[in-house]
Symmetry: C2
Subunit: 389 residues, 2 copies
């Protein structure tokens, strides 16, 4: 197992830190944003695109890949890297989150979780041991423990029960590892309860994981609640291990999270909203379908160096979206991922130069976040994590 | 107007010829296949893809572009080349074919054709003069006359009337040109009648066009009927002008048509069937959704040098199609266009070397065409030219 992490520079004013994550398939400079390739593809993009964009790590969904094409198919074809043509660092989730948010029926007991496929209704059973086995068979670089992820608003007793089970499953995942395979990260749960989060952070931190994730957030709770949990949790995590905030990926949240000491983020948001025509600009999201772009000869974000903005007017992108041309989704995805990856680079640069607080304040004062109401409504419509389109 | 054409070498055994077509935006070696970018995009591909594939000319649909985003929008943005980011030779049709095949209501009189938009039902009027004006405003390199295109199976008297009107409209198109604009090609009509085809070929050939197209074919008639018409028509066309067979684009038809002396072909077929999972191989089309590809580690066509086959197993492509991942359509389109473009290169090479007949016979004996019944059924389902997806 070749996984290591080091903090290169910590911000004196915030919790932010610039670091480097070394995996068997290459290095990811941190803080790092990991785009989501649920079904062995970052939707609309190919590996050559990922390379030109400067993506350093990619996420695959064990749940999706187990259902289609099947873990054994990917294994027999040489593993997930080769299957999807991605030679770099690869992170997989355990499947737990998808089962709890996506499968139409599920039944949890101490052994594991029985669920039905959202595709054909077939019945399956996932245990902590299988989650590890499957991820090892995928040949990932970083695997995640199987956790029980309660919905936002669940009663305390339920959250407590799920959190304690998550801890026992975490230990089973550790015992299930076979030798020098992929790195394994534990997941902190605990809902919105400060006590449970502290308990979970302490317990997971005490185990022999290569990294620690904060799970169970970005599930529809208000932003203030999410950040309160992160703020409560981070001080209980070891300095020396990478910290991964699962499911977070809007520009403002990334900049916020970096300041709290998060090293790894994953989210389908930048690519999902791109396919709906929502493009990031330095001032906030814009909707390219809007009539004001109909004749705009400038690109969506003048000065942007992404392939889309270097090549096309906003009017052309507007036209493609109005015509529902498939190229629209690809060009918008390229723009949004470019925006996010450059934002991460700038944040890292500022951390290394010791100017992060200034960078953060400037960004958050000029970037107008999508209004909370719109955001929650879009989530419900969009249906995370089963992506539209 | 900078348009010229020269035949470099003619095949001594067939009618085939290798040539060179020079336009204001570059050179297309002939015979040339022109992929269809109806709405200012070859579906799923960007201009960088077209360049790496070696596409030398692209077709835009005046009808589609008139409806969306509007000719005046493209004109105000600097023309179609700049709008779609395509710097090379560009061919546009006149809109006539789409109106006759696509618009829900149309009414032809001597002046022009009144039609309803297939998008919003709005009413429009197209005349030969406007067809020229619109194409000039798009800034195309080669424009087409407005023709009246009768459906396959139309009565003789109707076809005769449409053919004669097409001739009068052709002369009006010539008169409507403004100075040194794009080249203008005339269109031969005449349905399946040898006499009308001869009359049309002679008439159109006598006018001052830079090239001659054979229209009104590939409309659902049996292949034998189509080739009989081409065989009847070509001898009546001038040797010195490029000959363009509209709407033809399956591998076997291209190889057949080249042997009859055709220089230019356009068709949405290679890209449309790609999006349905039908991929060209040296032995014929295969359906990548077929279960036999589920675990195939080799690419779809072993030895193929396209990006898709160099990078991915057939199993991966199969998986993407099964999951309806957008990347599937792009990778399949790249493969099919690569196949067609390499086929055209090989045919041209054989023409230059004087080995075309041998090449043609070898290709047609190893490539199994899609069965006629399947082909006609797919056409009805697919709805040409309004493309699926």
């Amino acid at each position: 197992m070749s996984h290591s992490f080091r903090v290169i520079k910590a911000c004196p004013q915030t919790g932010g830190r610039a670091g480097e994550l070394v995996t068997a398939h290459g290095i990811a400079p941190t803080p790092v944003f990991v785009p989501v390739g649920s079904q062995a593809t970052i939707k609309t993009l190919d590996p050559a695109d990922l390379k030109s964009l400067g993506v350093s790590m990619v996420l695959g969904n064990t749940y999706h890949l187990y259902l289609r094409p099947g873990i054994e198919v990917i294994k027999s074809l040489g593993g997930l890297h080769r299957f999807m043509g991605w030679p770099g660092p690869l992170l997989t989730d355990s499947g737990g989150y998808q089962i709890f948010s996506l499968a139409p029926l599920r039944e949890v007991n101490e052994d594991g979780v029985r669920f039905r496929s959202h595709i054909d209704g077939s019945e399956h059973f996932l245990t902590p041991e299988r989650a590890i086995q499957w991820q090892e068979e995928l040949g990932t670089d970083i695997m995640m423990t199987l956790d029980e992820c309660p919905a936002y608003g669940e009663e305390y007793a339920q959250v407590e029960k799920a959190t304690r089970r998550t801890h026992r499953w975490a230990e089973r995942c550790l015992r299930a590892r076979r030798g020098r395979g992929p790195a394994l990260y534990g997941i902190v749960q605990g809902g919105t309860s400060p006590e449970l989060r502290r308990e979970s952070a302490d317990l997971i931190s005490s185990l022999d994981f290569e990294g620690i994730a904060i799970g169970g957030l970005s599930l529809g709770e208000p932003k203030g609640v999410m950040w309160a949990v992160v703020r409560e949790t981070v001080p209980h995590l070891p300095q020396a291990k990478p910290r991964y905030l699962m499911g977070v990926g809007s520009p403002e949240d990334l900049v916020e999270g970096i300041g709290m000491g998060i090293d790894i983020f994953d989210s389908a948001l930048p690519t999902r909203v791109a396919r709906n025509g929502a493009l990031f600009t330095s001032r906030g999201r814009c909707n390219i379908r809007n009539a004001r772009f109909r004749e705009q000869a400038e690109p969506v974000e003048p000065g942007c160096t992404c392939y889309t903005c270097r090549t096309f007017s906003a009017a052309y992108l507007h036209h493609l979206f109005r015509c529902e041309e498939l190229l629209a989704y690809r060009l918008a995805t390229i723009h949004n991922l470019h925006f996010i990856l450059r934002l991460m680079e700038k944040a890292r640069g500022a951390l290394l130069e010791g100017t992060f607080l200034d960078f953060q304040q400037r960004f958050l004062s000029s970037y107008e976040p999508t209004e909370e109401g719109v955001r929650l409504e879009q989530r419900q419509k969009g249906g995370r994590p089963r992506e539209a389109l």
